[in-house]
């Protein structure tokens, strides 16, 4: 017994009741004992049974017959459809159509009664007529009426086992376990068990009454020192804890935090910028021609009339405009069109984090230098399982005298291994309007196979020179939403921004595994 825990207050109450009242049925205990409710009784009884401090003397299931919805209807009509049909046929009606004129029951119920009577051999069909050779009041359906319906209507209890065999058969066949809304009868089983205290139970109760046991510790117990003569009730320490909701960081923000820390760890400095941009920084400075399809009104969010973002300096704008029109002094032919200042100043929501890189290039960056930004971007997409109204990209630049295509590939390799957590990756020629050469990176995902996660390129001279940068610059970017979905095990991108707190609480977070490219979360 020493290894056993002490009696729980609920257990004590149950044992006390049994000690005082002898063996008792569960219904009596629930009704009469000090146990607060049925749930407490069941728990206490289960604990005590498992420790054999009480035993179950007997256990009996009583099955009672009750009326289902169809039975209740029969009672209201004053007859079952079978009985009514037998009476009708005995009275001279001999076609189903004729009987169905009586609207006491719907056509369906008449139909199934007919089927049952034919099947039971009570009715016969000959020459298209229905025949009944007998008296309705002598059939089994009359007995069902007398032995089941009438007593139930008087409020009597009918035990299933008390019914004669042929009646019981009919009752049981009309008591479906499923689809109770179409049931004539319902069989309701009620289990009664008789419990009694065992010798060990008496012993345990006696012991627990003799000793002062301490349940919850209080400051008084400490102050008075009463614990010295008492014993502590032993807790059952292995029961599952109840769930509490702690403060916690958002799973996607944690993912973004991890990405941020890794970039800082790789020697990148963080850039920040505005959600609203003008087309100059979002597109023009990146040498995207003003007629480029991605600049169409159907691809970019324009801010309402009258809103603006501070314009670039006149001098800078002139250089960028020249690069567009005829290449200026960048060694390029340019796009050969007339640059529009008005379009350049149009305020939009930034469609790519590259606008931050352009701004950084235009404001005396460190050379050599490495920069990154985790930027919310906006694209003109219908929101669905793969598109958000706004999404996160991590983008940036690497500048330096010696930068070339091989360093660009080396950077992508670094991003694949350190940020995407991939060990298998490949590089493919790509097209971005502002870089040349351009490369995209695909990584091998264990479940999805090859997926594109990002890309990089050397900024075109038409981008760098007007911004005052005469060293090569790598521009790179990675999509984060998709990586986060993979890491968090989500299938619907909208879950990343869900307003549903319980959904959020159920997302698992394992920041150390977030970027492995494997399924980090357990929600898949």
């Amino acid at each position: 017994m020493t290894e056993e825990r002490d009696l729980h207050p609920l257990e004590k109450k149950l044992l006390t009741y049994l000690e005082n009242n002898g063996k008792s049925s569960d219904a009596d205990i629930i009704r009469e004992s000090d146990l607060p409710d049925e749930g407490s009784f069941r728990r206490a009884a289960q604990w005590l049974l498992s420790r054999e401090l009480i035993i179950e003397e007997s256990r009996e299931e009583k099955v009672f017959v009750e009326l289902g919805p169809l039975g209740t209807q029969n009672l209201e009509v004053g007859s079952s459809p079978e009985l009514a049909m037998l009476r009708a046929v005995a009275g001279g009606s001999n076609s189903l159509q004729e009987i169905q004129q009586d609207t006491s029951f719907d056509r369906g119920r008449w139909g199934s009664a007919f089927g049952a009577l034919i099947k039971g051999g009570l009715l016969k069909k000959a020459d298209g007529k229905i025949l009944f050779d007998g008296k309705p009041e002598e059939t089994v359906f009359q007995k069902v009426w007398d032995l089941v319906y009438l007593p139930l209507s008087d409020g009597a209890e009918i035990r299933f086992t008390d019914l004669p065999e042929n009646i019981a058969e009919i009752v049981e066949s009309r008591s479906p376990r499923r689809g109770k809304s179409r049931a004539e009868f319902i069989l309701n089983g009620i289990v009664t068990s008789i419990l009694d205290i065992t010798a060990e139970g008496r012993e345990a109760l006696k012991k627990s009454l003799e000793t002062v046991t301490i349940g919850v510790m209080t400051p008084e117990i400490l102050a008075e020192g009463s614990w010295k003569d008492a014993r502590f009730r032993r807790y059952q320490v292995d029961i599952p804890p109840s769930r509490i909701h702690t403060g916690r960081l958002h799973p996607y923000r944690q993912f973004l935090d991890t990405v941020r820390k890794r970039f800082i760890g790789l020697g990148f400095s963080e850039m920040r910028g505005s959600l609203a941009e003008n087309e100059f920084w979002n597109n023009d400075a990146l040498f995207m021609p003003q007629f480029h399809p991605a600049r169409d009104i159907h691809d970019v969010y324009y801010l309402e009339e009258g809103r603006s973002v501070p314009p670039p300096s006149d001098e800078l704008e002139k250089r960028v405009a020249a690069a567009h029109e005829n290449g200026g002094d960048t060694g390029s032919r340019g796009w050969g069109y007339r640059f529009s200042r008005r379009q350049s100043l149009q305020a939009i929501l930034r469609s790519q984090g590259t606008s931050l890189s352009a701004r950084t290039l235009g404001s005396n960056p460190d050379i050599p230098g490495k920069y990154f930004a985790i930027a919310r971007c906006f694209r003109y997409d219908q929101v669905d399982a793969t598109h958000l109204p706004d999404f996160f990209q991590v983008e940036g630049i690497v500048l330096g005298e010696k930068i070339n295509l091989r360093y660009l590939l080396g950077l992508l390799k670094l991003l694949a291994e350190e940020i995407a957590g991939a060990s298998d990756y490949k590089f493919l020629p790509a097209y971005f309007p502002f870089t040349e050469p351009s490369v995209e990176m695909h990584i091998k995902h264990p479940r999805l196979g090859w997926i594109e996660v990002g890309g990089a390129g050397l900024f075109r001279p038409e981008v760098c020179l007007p911004l005052g940068i005469d060293v090569p610059v790598i521009a790179w970017g990675l999509g984060l939403d998709r990586m986060a979905m993979l890491a968090l095990g989500l299938n619907d991108i909208r879950d990343l921004i869900t307003p549903d707190l319980s959904r959020l609480r159920n997302m698992k977070i394992q920041p150390d595994r977030l970027l492995t490219g494997r399924e980090g979360g357990a929600n898949a």
Partner: protein
């Protein structure tokens, strides 16, 4: 990204190579920045990533690249014969649709499948590159039914002919009003007084560009091996390049191409042989090439690489290399474009990646460090972090939440639900409450994030706000006040509140947040009317401050 569907058999027949299987094909497609999107039996769908290369948006273009990488350049449209005929352009078209290019292609009689492919290219080019037939639209005709010179005229909308697929003669305005194609492209011409029309020397009408061909001459059938092709449009370069691409495609199919002379009135360009061959050239020195690629490549190897990319010519003179693009390309405007072609031709896999050698120090943006510190305090205060989109709706921010200031609206929203940029985080948190009644209470939630505000002068700027909200049976003002207090205490800032009236909150339970003497935000118990509008059934209080106010 353009996607094209091609017949695998056709692709490899045109490439003159054996089908190497999908894995090797994927590798070859790097030459055209293409990826296999779908492959089953003869069906092949290819995604092409270079939006600047309309010549690749067809099976002929992709096949051409594969073939040349093996067999070297083809010299497309070199040594063309004398013009097969003339087109005379009406000066009244100058402000309607002035440009036209044309050629004849003889000796290739397409079967039904090839004819379909031809029509697909025509549609694709006109739709994407030709901006839905605005800058360029294409027509094919049976050459033998046309007598030169063809006239490109400006005519009145009352002019009539039988359009392709119809049975009766219709006026041009009827065509725009009563045919499906007419309605689709009406906007391209209907604003002008006179509309474009192509007719031949005998006066029989070829087509009503860019809308529809005529039923009589404008119908090409399988087996027709003598074709006349024209491209009209509003953009000179687009028209010429489109014609050149089509001519190269037909040449690849085995047709002989003859140019057509286009005579413009004196007020415009005088005369020009079409399609115009641009011969765009790029020049780079050994040093420039090596500096971009990072390898010690010789000019001879660079030349070889470019010829495998079907350059029309590559000349070396001393230390410089000059490449001329084939007639179907105009995407080379700087030496770097040619240098990339060298890299693609050599193959990226042959470049050994190098890690950056130069040392740089990584920094977090200062504001992010501040935000992180505050988030940590809030987690300690038992708050759960929320992340909501930056786009919201006027209804949520203004009508339901009653935010006093107006958010910046989007001029062209996709849906009203995302029609404004948020200027406050509180509606996002209330949204969470209205969705989370089934999550056990109390709820203590917060978000820090970007919002957009506009000054009186309309100049927009992004700020980072911090908002917190407590909701539950016993949630009240004191709860959020304590949370705010713990943030200020942790940063050694003075917090005081000054009572204020704000429609979002219950009168007398709302205040301006003052941090170190500066008004920094708002705090209050949400008004029952606001909660009811949101469908929130429990009391809630919240605060919102500008994160900058925690800086000192």
């Amino acid at each position: 990204m353009p996607k094209i569907e091609v017949s695998r058999q056709d692709l490899f027949k045109l490439s003159r190579m054996k089908d190497p299987g999908d894995a090797e094909l994927a590798n070859l497609l790097t030459l055209v920045k293409g990826e296999i999107d779908y492959s089953l039996d003869d069906e092949l769908k290819i995604e092409l990533n270079d939006t600047n290369r309309p010549d690749l948006w067809c099976v002929e273009g992709v096949a051409r690249a594969l073939r040349c990488s093996e067999a070297g350049p083809f010299n497309h449209l070199a040594d063309l014969p004398e013009p097969a005929g003339e087109i005379h352009v009406d000066e009244k078209l100058e402000n309607v649709r002035p440009f036209v290019a044309a050629f004849t292609a003889c000796g290739f009689g397409p079967d039904q499948k090839q004819l379909n492919a031809l029509i697909n290219v025509q549609e694709k080019l006109a739709a994407s590159f030709g901006r839905n037939r605005k800058t360029a639209a294409i027509g094919f005709y049976r050459l033998d039914e046309i007598s030169f010179p063809v006239k490109y005229r400006a005519v009145t909308p009352e002019t009539s002919f039988i359009p392709l697929g119809e049975e009766r003669e219709m006026t041009l305005s009827e065509i725009l009003a009563d045919t499906e194609t007419g309605r689709m492209y009406a906007h391209l011409v209907e604003k002008a007084d006179l509309w474009p029309l192509l007719e031949d020397a005998s006066g029989s009408i070829l087509s009503f560009p860019p809308v529809i061909n005529s039923q009589t001459t404008g119908r090409v059938s399988p087996g027709d091996s003598r074709l006349f092709c024209e491209v009209t449009g509003t953009d000179w370069e687009t028209v010429q390049l489109t014609a050149a691409i089509l001519a190269c495609n037909l040449q690849d199919r085995g047709a002989s191409i003859a140019p057509v002379l286009v005579k413009y009135p004196a007020s415009m360009h005088s005369e020009v042989q079409t399609p115009v061959i641009f011969r765009d050239s790029m020049t780079a020195t050994t040093d420039e090439i090596r500096k971009v690629l990072g390898i010690d490549i010789s000019l001879d190897s660079a030349r070889e690489a470019l010829l495998r990319m079907d350059y029309a010519s590559v000349e070396i003179e001393g230390d410089t290399l000059t490449g001329i693009l084939p007639p179907y390309r105009r995407d080379g405007i700087h030496a770097v474009d040619m240098i990339e072609d060298i890299a693609i031709s050599i193959g990226l896999e042959s470049f050994e990646p190098l890690l950056p050698e130069q040392f740089t120090i990584g920094h977090s943006a200062p504001v992010e460090e501040l935000v992180d510190a505050v988030r940590t305090v809030l987690i300690g205060a038992g708050c759960e972090e929320i992340l909501r989109p930056a786009l919201s709706s006027w209804r949520k921010i203004k009508e339901i939440t009653r935010t006093p200031t107006d958010p910046v609206m989007i001029a062209n929203p996709m849906t009203e639900e995302y029609g404004v940029v948020r200027n406050t985080l509180l509606p996002g948190l209330l949204d969470v409450e209205s969705t989370s009644a089934h999550a056990s209470y109390p709820h203590r939630i917060f978000e820090s994030g970007e919002i957009l505000i506009s000054g009186d002068d309309g100049v927009c700027r992004t700020e980072i706000y911090l908002a917190g909200l407590v909701c539950g049976n016993k949630a009240d003002f004191g709860d959020v006040h304590s949370i705010l207090g713990s943030i200020c205490y942790s940063r050694d800032l003075d917090l005081s509140l000054r009572s204020v009236e704000d429609e979002r909150f219950i009168s007398g339970r709302c205040a301006t947040v003052i941090i170190n003497g500066r008004a920094s935000g708002v705090i209050g118990e949400f008004h029952p009317a606001v909660l009811t509008e949101w469908g929130i059934a429990r009391p809630a209080s919240g605060f919102e401050i500008n994160i900058d106010s925690l800086k000192e």
